[in-house]
């Protein structure tokens, strides 16, 4: 690395130290002090109190169930995507990115509208089967949480396992067949072992996401089903108990770091697999011949379609339905400047707040992410792997914890960020820059260094070479990263709610407040704006992301 680059990198480390590491450390330290002294007693309280033990166990339990269900729904999908050809296949493959940009609170809203006691599914079942009362009691229970997590995570399983499956050289399977192994033996003895790294890493990833999930549990769990994230939120925002809140963050961070370690181990196994020269053969799904197998597949597709499309369509329908009539009244309400009692501000204000925060946070996370990606690709420093892992730490820390760290570490002197939109934007930047790194890094890795040398030998200065050769080649990747970071910020609710003050509400917070107040029309209209933002992000990522910015790189 050249001298100038080195200085910039030191500056970056100092910045992250100020806004992330130092605040996080002071939170963790707070969880280890009692009356100004180092002490294990807050930790002991957490680990012995039956309520806290209960929420820790519940967090792990719901994450385990969510993982199993996500695998159960995702694996058949991965199988279909790999082995069959059908119209819309590549569209479905692209759509698996959507959960990443779709705000969790919108999914929660969709679940309430679709699976709730008076939701569309229950109403439909009651009218078809002439039932006197709703047959499904899904929400506000473990089932509701697990289903919503599966909605979110099954596509990830599907995508990761499908990618790995297609990467297996079909000649390996053919070699086994030529040696006399039958279909089942090949599947058990060849395919499954080769897919194991993908299975393990997607399972670990889903487990981490579910373990750290906050808006879904908050909205769908009800009072009885709190996870660690909800526990931290309650301790800090309702009970103002920073000490126990910090101790709980300490426990959570220890657990999530261990889980992340497992994930990274599993992900490492991926590399050796992608050597397939020829693609796996596929069968047309819609052919004349009907069979038992086809029936099962058809049933799966119908159930999956209802499961994934139902909640989202419900949000759309409810946003346009006022007292049983089609109307755009809810949208008019959302774009009004008038004070809304449920939000504490005008709805339009929350839209503007979100846009402002999204802009600032992207303006920070983009350069930070690009610099880290450049460092990861170019540097030959000893210990750079470790440094890289440390720089990606926000991935392994929960959003609620990061929100609190910003509040606790930067809220007071000297920056006095408490109660400002900047604080929220900073928290979002910390949460999103690792994703920027993951998008940009493969783009930089794919950049042939000799292109720059070619430009130089033809007479271009380093600056010219950058603007005429490098930038046009990595530009689309940067745009994808920016859009992705922006969309994540727009949909973020967990860190935001920790830093919330009256007047600072954002769109996801507005959705949550409105649905808590059972203002489903307005909540749905606001939710639809978020869906549209997510949709635009999806289109950009899908169109520009073709080269280099593979879906796998997003997680």
């Amino acid at each position: 690395m050249k001298k100038g680059g080195f200085l910039v990198f030191i500056g970056l480390l100092a910045f992250l130290g100020l806004v992330f590491y130092q605040p996080l450390f002071s939170v963790l330290r707070r969880g280890l002090t009692e009356g100004g002294r180092w002490s294990l007693s807050p930790l002991a309280t957490i680990l012995t109190d039956s309520y806290f033990v209960h929420i820790i166990v519940f967090s792990l339990k719901q994450a385990a169930f969510s993982t199993l269900l996500s695998l159960g729904i995702g694996l058949p999908g991965a199988y279909l995507l790999t082995r069959y050809s059908f119209p819309g296949k590549s569209a479905i493959r692209s759509l698996t990115v959507v959960p990443f940009v779709l705000p969790a609170v919108v999914v929660a809203l969709g679940f309430i509208l679709f699976f709730g006691e008076s939701g569309w599914l229950n109403q439909w079942l009651m009218s078809v089967f002439h039932l006197p009362s709703p047959p499904l009691h899904i929400l506000y229970s473990l089932t509701g949480i697990v289903l919503a997590h599966a909605f979110y995570n099954a596509p990830i399983v599907m995508r990761l396992v499908n990618a790995s499956w297609e990467g297996i050289d079909p000649e390996i399977d053919e070699a086994a067949a030529s040696l006399g192994a039958g279909g089942l033996r090949r599947f058990v003895g060849i395919t499954i072992p080769l897919l194991t790294p993908a299975l393990l890493s997607s399972a670990a990833l889903v487990f981490i996401f579910s373990f750290l999930s906050f808006p879904i549990v908050l909205a769908l769990g009800g009072a009885r089903y709190a996870t660690i994230e909800v526990g931290i939120y309650t301790l800090i925002r309702t009970l103002l108990d920073y000490k126990l809140g910090s101790a709980l963050i300490l426990v959570e961070t220890a657990l999530s770091l261990s889980l992340t370690y497992v994930y990274l181990k599993a992900e490492g196994g991926f590399a050796t697999l992608t050597q397939g020269s020829r693609r796996v053969a596929t069968y047309p799904l819609f052919s004349r011949k009907a069979s038992m197998c086809k029936m099962v597949i058809a049933a799966y597709i119908i159930i999956a379609a209802v499961f994934f499309l139902g909640p989202i369509s419900s949000v759309l329908v409810d946003s346009l339905l006022v007292r049983g009539q089609w109307s755009v009244e809810s949208y008019r309400q959302i774009f009004s400047l008038g004070y809304n009692p449920f939000l504490g501000v005008s709805p339009l204000r929350t839209v503007l707040n979100s846009l402002f925060i999204g802009g600032i946070s992207t303006a920070i996370s983009l350069p930070v992410g690009i610099l880290i990606a450049m460092f990861a690709v170019r540097s030959h420093l000893p210990g750079r792997r470790l440094l890289e892992a440390i720089l990606m730490a926000p991935l392994a820390v929960s959003s609620v914890a990061i929100g609190f760290a910003v509040l606790y570490g930067l809220g007071g002197a000297p920056l006095h960020l408490s109660g400002t939109l900047i604080a929220i934007a900073l928290a979002h930047a910390i949460l999103t820059y690792p994703f920027v790194v993951r998008v940009i890094r493969p783009v930089l890795e794919g950049l042939d260094q000799s292109l720059v040398e070619a430009a130089r030998s033809l007479g271009a200065s380093p600056t010219r070479a950058f603007f005429e050769v490098i930038l046009p080649l990595i530009g689309p990747g940067i745009l994808v990263a920016a859009v992705f970071g922006f969309a994540l910020s727009i949909g973020e609710m967990s860190a935001t709610i920790m830093l919330m003050r009256p007047g600072l509400g954002t769109m996801p917070i507005a959705v949550y407040s409105l649905l808590s107040a059972r203002q489903f029309g307005a909540a749905s209209a606001m939710g639809m704006i978020l869906v549209v933002v997510a949709g635009i992000a999806f289109v950009v990522i899908d169109r520009l992301g073709k080269r280099g910015v593979g879906c796998r790189t997003l997680w």
């Binding site: 000799s450 030998s457 033809l458 007479g459």
Partner: protein, 359 residues
């Protein structure tokens, strides 16, 4: 066009000493190839001259002026990369124009036309690099390097990614263009056939040093070191002991056999200057095509045919003898009567043996 003088170049990457001591000159309009096995430092030499890396020690002068401290963009050298490094976001015309455009004195549009003419790719202006075959890409890379009228052309294994037929035709094209433009050229390859057929002179490299620098014929027929003798062409090697030197002849004992060699032909310059004395341990090299299956008076041994490999005009005959296995390349006509197990006499003329002191 230009005179390049390289003196005492050294370069290490961490613990790896890529170049130990590289010195040579490249005359005006001369075509010099750097030939050597993988990892010997050919690419590194080229990159130091182009300015992509800085040497740890040594001088590089072009037309009498040191260029060691110039950035690559000021050196006016054309570089053709092994992977071509065409700009993927620009079409063929823009790629070629890139360098010409940065050089004010050149009319870009005309230059692009001229160069596409030169490399026989008229009409490809609008294609993107991804829409070209690898041979076409290679020629565009050459055209792009030539466009700014470089003082020196550097090529790093430009043909290594192509199939044999294409390699041969492009080789001729490169040589033709180089001569037409009288362009001083440094060409890296690890393919000896390429080096022998293209170059005015060859520098044979080994672990960061130049072993011998001479015309292709000299390198092939009078290798100065054991490494060059074994790397260029295919030779049979024997270990032996000198028994006598007199009357311009040297006798060498290999196993039971006594071979005689002509001193003037068989010794490197260094060895000729020093005294070779009876009892010295030596390595004896005989090129595969210098072994003969006709019986001669001198240097004949009996052998058994192990395998005959048909190669068209010539054939390779593998032989078993008392002093080890041999490989001979002979005219296919001579092999019609041979079959596995045939007994033959194999011999070589006294002028065909090359001697090196055993290390």
């Amino acid at each position: 066009m230009s005179d390049l003088v390289v003196k005492g170049l050294a370069k290490s990457f961490g613990d790896v000493r890529a170049l130990r001591e590289i010195s040579f000159t490249l005359g005006r309009g001369e075509f010099l190839t750097l030939l050597g096995p993988s990892g010997c430092g050919k690419t590194t030499t080229l990159r130091l001259i182009a300015g992509f890396e800085r040497p740890d020690a040594g001088e590089i002068t072009l037309d009498g002026r040191s260029i060691v401290n110039d950035p690559p963009e000021d050196r006016q050298l054309g570089f053709v990369f092994q992977t071509y490094a065409l700009f993927p976001h620009m079409n063929v015309a823009k790629n070629i124009a890139y360098g010409a455009r940065l050089n004010r004195s050149i009319s870009t549009k005309r230059r692009v036309g001229e160069l596409l003419d030169l490399v026989d790719l008229k009409g490809f202006e609008r294609r993107k690099p991804a829409e070209l075959s690898s041979g076409q890409r290679q020629r565009i890379a050459l055209a792009r390097a030539l466009a700014p009228q470089p003082r020196l052309l550097l090529l790093d294994e430009p043909l290594s990614a192509l199939d044999a037929k294409l390699r041969e035709s492009l080789r001729a094209q490169i040589r033709h263009i180089q001569q037409e433009l009288a362009l001083s050229t440094l060409y890296v390859t690890h393919d000896q056939e390429e080096a022998l057929s293209l170059a005015d002179r060859i520098a044979v490299m080994r672990s960061g040093k130049i072993e011998q620098i001479a015309t292709p014929q000299q390198v092939y027929e009078h290798p100065q070191t054991e490494f060059v003798a074994s790397f260029v062409g295919r030779a049979n090697r024997f270990s032996g002991t000198v028994t006598a030197t007199k009357d311009g002849l040297i006798s060498v004992k290999v196993g039971e056999f006594l071979f005689s060699l002509i001193r003037e032909e068989g010794l490197s310059d260094d060895l000729r200057a020093s005294q070779l004395t009876p009892g010295d341990h030596v390595s004896l090299f005989v090129k595969e095509e210098r072994l003969q299956l006709t019986e001669m008076r001198e240097n004949a041994i009996s052998a058994q045919v192990a395998l005959v490999e048909y190669r068209g005009e010539t054939s390779i005959v593998y032989l078993k003898t008392q002093i080890g296995s041999l490989r001979a390349r002979v005219s296919t006509k001579q092999t019609t009567t041979l079959s596995t197990g045939s007994e033959v006499k194999v011999s070589f003329s006294p002028s065909a043996g090359l001697l090196f002191l055993a290390p």
